[in-house]
Symmetry: C2
Subunit: 435 residues, 2 copies
């Protein structure tokens, strides 16, 4: 692999597999020290509730809270923020919210049942969770779009109450974030963050009712806290750095493709942007464009380090080979910037979101196309899905046996229960067999 300011690889090299493995290598560092600090915070909040939340918030966020009311924001505060922001931004948030809502309505699952010949009814009842908590990062990484993407699916699912936590370091909080919460109809808002906020949501305090599920990204303390409360409440996946894989046939404007890669690279230094293309000259053009456009970006330093450490332009022998490599990577975002993307779609096995065609920039999906921007990272698209309405619904099996059905099933169940040495199971089934 050559590497000037971004790696260059060829998929036909004999050692490509090893190079790719090295390129993708990333693992959440389990930090023992962080885990111990988090365990202590969880225990303190569990034992002492609001008092502990206030202490930690004052210490970590440099605030002067004197009571729980100081970390509660009223619905009025949210609508006031909505009134303060610019008209263009408000309209953009509203368009985005409407489109996200519309898309997620398609994900709603309905209860179902069927009746067998003997009258036995089987089915599944779908119900929303009662209460969920959304973690929104504060400070520099405070994104109003994430508020919409996390809250709206819960609302569409029919969750009774959506509580949001967002840290306000030194009391500062973004009007855009509050406005997005107003638009998404978040029910309660608490200006707290870190492991103490996760603990408050998981265990409840005098002021904050405990939730059934906690979603949303956060720093290593938040991620460790979520892992620790997993099982007591549900959590979403623990996210790694964001990544994009672009497959291009070489006929899209190289400036467009370069900027798509840069839009990923500007997120953070660990973000990963990879391009697969069968046209070596196109790769050269993208490389030049990257160098030129990078220089104009306010976040050039971050993007440059991301490209240098984790980016790659990879020459492939065909689009089919590109798809095979993509399935191996299981990317969070996959752009298929080719003439006939639909023909490749059936071969795509693992990806968080698939952006088809030359016009579908990832950024459109990040903000307002409709699908969720909370997506499985670091290859977890092999077994995980975008955040969705299904994350806030759960299912109960329904079984209603007719006397005839119970007679038939009772005989089978009794045989199997005896085979497992569970006599009470067998007798309970046998009671329902006709004498």
């Amino acid at each position: 692999m050559t590497r000037k300011f971004i790696g260059r690889l060829s998929a036909v090299d004999t050692d490509f597999d090893g190079q790719l493995k090295q390129l993708l290598a990333w693992e959440a560092v389990a930090n023992k020290q962080v885990e111990e600090i988090v365990a202590e915070i969880l225990q303190q909040v569990r034992n002492r509730g609001d008092a502990a939340v206030i202490e930690y918030t004052n210490r970590f966020d440099r605030r002067n809270l004197t009571g729980a009311e100081d970390f509660c924001l009223t619905p009025q505060a949210l609508t006031e923020a909505l009134a303060r922001i610019g008209v263009e931004e408000r309209e953009a948030l509203e368009v985005s919210a409407r489109r996200v809502r519309e898309y997620h309505e398609h994900q709603k699952q309905g209860s179902w049942r069927y009746t067998e010949a003997d009258g036995t009814v089987l089915g599944q009842q779908i119900t929303p969770m009662e209460r969920v908590g959304i973690y929104v990062p504060g400070g520099k990484a405070s994104y109003p779009s994430s508020v919409l993407m996390n809250a709206i699916p819960a609302k569409v699912a029919g969750v009774d109450s959506v509580a949001m936590v967002v840290p306000a370091p030194e009391g500062e909080i973004s009007d855009l974030v509050l406005a997005a919460a107003a638009i998404a109809e978040v029910d309660q808002m608490f200006t707290i963050g870190g492991a103490q906020a996760v603990a408050a949501l998981a265990y409840g305090t005098e002021t904050i009712a405990s939730v059934d599920k906690i979603v949303g990204p956060g720093n290593i303390f938040v991620a460790s806290a979520k892992r620790a409360v997993f099982g007591h409440v549900a959590i979403d996946m623990i996210a790694g750095p964001s990544e994009i894989l672009v497959i291009c046939d070489g006929a899209t404007d190289p400036d467009w493709i370069a900027m798509d890669l840069l839009s990923q690279a500007e997120h953070d230094e660990q973000a990963q942007a990879i391009l697969l293309c069968p046209d070596a000259e196109f790769l050269d053009a993208v490389e030049s464009s990257l160098e030129r456009q990078l220089a104009e970006l306010p976040r050039a330093t971050i993007a440059a380090k991301s490209l240098m450490d984790r980016g790659a332009l990879i020459l492939v022998d065909s689009l089919e080979q590109a798809i095979k490599i993509s399935n191996r990577i299981a990317p969070e975002h996959l752009e298929v910037s080719v003439a006939d993307p639909e023909s490749l779609l059936p071969q795509i096995r693992h990806a968080g979101a698939i952006f088809l065609g030359r016009y579908t920039a990832e950024a459109l999906g990040d903000y307002c196309a409709g699908p969720n921007h909370v997506l499985p990272t670091s290859g977890t698209a092999r077994f995980s899905s975008p955040l969705g309405v299904y994350d806030f619904q759960k299912r109960s099996s329904i079984i209603y046996c007719s006397p005839q059905g119970a007679d038939q099933l009772g005989r089978v169940a009794a045989t199997l229960a005896c085979g497992e040495g569970l006599e009470a199971h067998a007798r309970s089934a046998t009671f329902r067999i006709k004498k």
Copy 2:
């Protein structure tokens, strides 16, 4: 609460809430020592593959494996076991498998898409996972029904390859378990267990290909190992002790209800069986029946301890109050043994599986009704679902913007990206706006 051999409570007592809380109290004990042992096992298997799996298996399961081939079972070994078991048991397993398959076919989710007025296409593509691992406990708790319940949903989902691990202490393994694996069409079978089996499935070895998801119950070492590999692969929920909540109007045969409670209690000493009924005399009748029928059970000692420590007969003032209490408990199994169970169903908010009517014993659902018997325990039905086909499928968002759609969405995305300070995102979107 009075307690002779099972607790008696009344929901109208002033301190009922506290008593109920105490009755339900159960928490997975996080055991530091176990976690450290498990971390070492995971590391060893990750570094040394088969060699480490063989060493741990020889040590913990008292076996004499000399090579990886010694822990691999051929498809032929499974079909031979199927031929060895009794005809009645084989038929019962086959009826069960057929019904489980039929029910789970209803859970299959299909891809969907819709086209907007400007030609933009949005949707979701559903694909099966490639490879999953099923953990089946060995020895005394080795249940063929669990093989069917774990493997069949994966097969219905279209998973390419289902690998099963089951420990064989001293080389012993149940023919019924092997036969069930043959019927469920398990693709590979390894006679290993414990944290070393979880590690082999999660990280892969020379012989065992790594999987995308690990499901199935196990002891504290297995549960700790699953929690540790969570994120690297997907896992199902970590199960607590099994429980049943029976709501009865007092008109079902008290012997039936007593045996239903005993069928839960015989599982293990931590299992929980609770009855809610508005008729005090019926509770007396069930108590007498429990005492009488308990004495006849082979697993009487286990069931007696379960009833004594964790069981309860609770007097309620109405069926409506019973449902409210049930929603608070969010039981794994809920029997609604009343005249008109359908009228209560809409009020049931949280339960793993709901058994309606006097004829629907939980045991029928455990073995052969069709719905899965892997269900959320310890109140996690508030946010979890029965194991299902959806556990082995995942989703990819589809976005295909028309030039017109990209123009409209590009403007919105650019506004929002600027608001978040992400200039490359804004430029990437702006490239797609018509000039």
